[in-house]
Symmetry: C2
Subunit: 161 residues, 2 copies
């Protein structure tokens, strides 16, 4: 038997690895694939002292300057968690709080030049490593995969409105 128990693992225990296991179910393949990708993100993040949440933060700030609360919503975190997240990022000079025009309470969060630089290099590494994974498919298959995955992502995911 080779399905269920593998679902939660990044890598199978023995080296009767992915192939020795035949075709995975959609569910298993989705879960395992997510761990493979997250593990790449985590490893490259760690190389640059970035957690996955920080990587996501920088990704969001790439073309936006949201308020703390907007960040909290988009990251799915409590606002108090975002305070700490931004504190640490700001201490490292990756990000800065700027005053908002109309509201003297809130800030907008903006990425600094240093932050952009870091995103650029880390992003390139991530791109490279994921491309390595994707290289096991032909160009046509990759396109097909991307098309299917895009539709999967489009699904409401059983949460918010």
């Amino acid at each position: 038997m080779c399905t269920y128990s593998k679902r939660m693992q990044v890598k199978p225990m023995n080296n009767e690895a992915a192939d020795g296991c035949g075709e995975l179910s959609v569910i298993d393949s989705l879960v395992q694939l997510s761990f493979v990708i997250q593990s790449i993100l985590g490893r490259i993040g760690a190389d640059h002292d970035l957690s996955i949440v920080q990587i996501r933060l920088l990704g969001i700030l790439r073309d936006r300057e949201p308020t703390m609360l907007q960040l909290a919503r988009h990251l799915g975190l409590d606002k108090s968690s975002v305070t700490g997240l931004i504190d640490r990022a700001e201490r490292r000079g990756l990000v800065e709080r700027t005053a908002t025009p109309n509201d003297r309470r809130g800030f907008n969060v903006r990425m600094t030049a240093a932050g952009r630089e870091l995103v650029r290099t880390a992003g390139a590494e991530i791109e490279r490593q994921i491309m390595d994974v994707a290289a096991s498919l032909s160009a046509a298959e990759r396109a097909q995969f991307a098309a299917l995955a895009t539709r999967l992502i489009g699904a409401p995911a059983s949460g918010e409105p």
Copy 2:
């Protein structure tokens, strides 16, 4: 432009959502998909007071009784981290340390009945929610997706031997 900056986000900021964005690149689709899945795992885990690592732990223990060190390797954690992980799981009665036959230093870690019960219910919920996501594809497309994903997972992922 709609590719790069979206890569690190779970959900796009505005609701010009996934569709409004056209086809994602393989890289973007992989990263986003991984966040969708991880978010499901995280949410259901949270419902049962389980972190994603704990979910993985229970998944591994489903059909194995590894030593602490084996667990550390398979989870990609330091051995000292595993001590804490197992301590907490043991305190909750999900897991227990058992003596190993030949080595008086080490233990094997075994899931308890309570642990199995929890895995069963949480696993079913995860399965359901991921199936909801997968439901946006036809059965044939799901099979196709699973086939492609299985091959992606088979790729060495640029780490260990």
